[in-house]
């Protein structure tokens, strides 16, 4: 959405290249969208999205790549797949967001909130090092680097007592295979690559 907010967008001049690209590359057909909003209504993190999933579909139809690649929603989407699970047309929005995220990353775009960006980096660095996310070290590092030493400590304790959080890093058999996935990916090996 550009600055000329009140100048009507001329739809016949909007090209549909992004929508086509998404259909061809991902098999995600946004013409199947019923515009019902079930994706947005149930989105785990929708209350913090600047553009909710249904609006993201509209942005693609408007070919507004600039907004799509710079929106916060791209980085605060949890990839929980609820939108896909609930979509009556089976539209794979998480896949679309993955695609857009990678595209944004390649263009050097990052989450506008530094903490979101930091969390991404710590998480991916954990995956790269040990083959999967190890929650406890990621949380410790995140809290340490953001200076919120006791953030969510209470929740952490409860989760630990219920066996939902381990202080030990889980063992992954073929870490090398996971590490290889990072080869040539826009997420560089150092993890913290700001």
């Amino acid at each position: 959405m550009g600055p000329d907010f009140y100048i009507p967008m001329r739809l016949n001049e909007v090209d549909d290249s992004l929508q086509k690209e998404i259909k061809e590359n991902l098999g995600v057909d946004l013409e199947m969208c019923l515009e019902c909003g079930k994706c947005s209504g149930g989105c785990s993190n929708g209350q913090s999205f600047d553009y909710t999933p249904r609006k993201i579909v509209q942005l693609v139809k408007f070919n507004d790549e600039e907004t799509l690649l710079s929106m916060d929603a791209l980085w605060i989407c949890l990839s929980c797949q609820l939108c896909l699970d609930r979509c009556p047309s089976g539209i794979d929005l998480p896949r679309l967001l993955d695609y857009l995220r990678a595209k944004a990353y390649r263009k050097g775009l990052r989450a506008s909130r530094p903490q979101v960006q930091l969390f991404y980096e710590l998480m991916l660095s954990s995956v790269r090092k040990i083959g999967r996310v190890s929650e406890f070290p990621v949380i410790l590092q995140f809290n340490w680097k953001t200076g919120q030493y006791l953030k969510d400590a209470h929740l952490g304790l409860t989760m630990f007592l219920k066996g939902k959080l381990s202080f030990l890093s889980p063992h992954v058999k073929e870490k090398e295979k996971v590490r290889r996935l990072f080869n040539g990916s826009p997420v560089e090996s150092r993890g913290n690559n700001r």
């Binding site: 959405m1 907010f5 009140y6 100048i7 009507p8 967008m9 001329r10 739809l11 016949n12 001049e13 057909d29 013409e31 199947m32 515009e35 249904r54 609006k55 509209q58 942005l59 139809k61 408007f62």
Partner: protein, 343 residues
């Protein structure tokens, strides 16, 4: 007792009237099918294609008319309008006028089926859409004729077409409060046909919602969107302007809350269905009730009965799609046959 055969008059030879006359004739009673125009078929004859199967409506009509012609008990009276009616020996004495020479003829009938169809609302009240001002702003029936021209290779190929739904329907200020029911489907059909003929044309349907309640209807609309790539834009356009000889449609995309516009060559207005102007007078003639809009009203628990020995079918009751018009025609015929059998 008279030995005259029981006779019904069917007024209006669209699909409902044709079906009614045919069934009465096939059941062994006399039917007179009175049609004001020179040709049978009513509104259906003006259509280029149909939903949900993209069939040529003229094929259906031709088949039905062939059946009519093979049914000796049905007499077809074209160019005929009903001038008067009076109660007569337990039935009606109906005066028909031949519009070609002005001669009249009295018919003694035992039952009446009104099948006068519906008309499209006069849209000249919608100055904002430029109907009657810009020649390329067409109502739905005019566009059916345009589609036929295009299919025959005449007329200029459009780069863009915008179709606006709910013009005169669901409008409590200038039009009618009701939903005309058939426009969602015929608009999808028309939009799809444009894409079939001109795949490179950009086709937009402006809608508040689409109502596709019917067998194969939802699938039909989805195919138009997903396979024929018609772009549905949610919003009721505010105006149509002229820009360099083309037409600019302004609306809000209510899904995002942003003003949008499209520049096209043809704008099609999905006009509200209204009763035929003559229906109210005919209803009065036969003692039938009409509603506040002028559509015929049925008696309680009698879906096709308008008054004693007076039945109705098709668009004169409310806008109907072709299969429903045929169903109602058959139902009205069944009511007449039952009446004739029990007396």
């Amino acid at each position: 007792m008279r030995n005259r055969e029981k006779t019904a008059i069917v007024i209006g030879a669209g699909p409902a009237g044709i079906e009614a006359a045919l069934k009465i004739g096939q059941a062994g009673y006399q039917a007179v099918l009175a049609e004001r125009e020179a040709e049978l078929g009513g509104t259906l004859r003006q259509l280029y294609s149909s939903f949900p199967r993209w069939e040529d409506p003229r094929d259906l009509l031709d088949a039905k008319i062939r059946q009519l012609e093979n049914c000796p008990r049905v007499s077809i009276m074209k160019h005929s309008t009903v001038e008067a009616s009076q109660l007569h020996e337990g039935g009606f004495l109906v005066t028909l006028r031949d519009s070609r020479n002005g001669t009249t003829k009295d018919l003694h009938v035992d039952a009446v089926i009104l099948a006068t169809g519906f008309a499209l609302m006069d849209l000249s009240i919608y100055g904002e859409y430029g109907y009657g001002i810009y020649p390329e702003v067409l109502n739905a029936l005019e566009f059916e004729a345009r589609l036929r021209e295009w299919s025959q290779g005449s007329g200029q190929a459009p780069q863009g077409v915008a179709l606006i739904k709910c013009v005169g329907s669901r409008d409590r200020s200038k039009g009618n409060p009701y939903c005309s029911k058939i426009c969602c489907m015929y608009t999808a059909k028309q939009a799809g046909l444009v894409k079939d003929m001109f795949p490179d044309a950009k086709v937009y349907v402006f809608y508040m919602d689409y109502r596709a309640a019917g067998k194969e209807y939802e699938e039909f609309v989805r195919d138009v969107i997903e396979k024929k790539h018609v772009r549905y834009v949610r919003g009721r356009p505010a105006k149509v302007l002229c820009e360099n000889g083309r037409l600019l449609v302004r609306a809000e995309d209510t899904l995002v809350g942003l003003p949008v516009e499209v520049l096209v060559d043809v704008v099609v207005l999905a006009s509200a269905a209204v009763p035929h102007p003559g229906t109210r007078k005919l209803a009065e003639m036969f003692g039938a009730k009409t509603d506040e809009y002028g559509f015929l009203e049925n008696e309680r628990f009698e879906p096709v009965k308008a008054a004693d020995k007076v039945f109705f079918a098709g668009g004169c009751g409310f806008a109907v799609e072709t299969p429903l018009a045929l169903q109602q025609g058959a139902a009205a015929a069944a009511a007449v046959i039952a009446l004739f059998n029990t007396r």
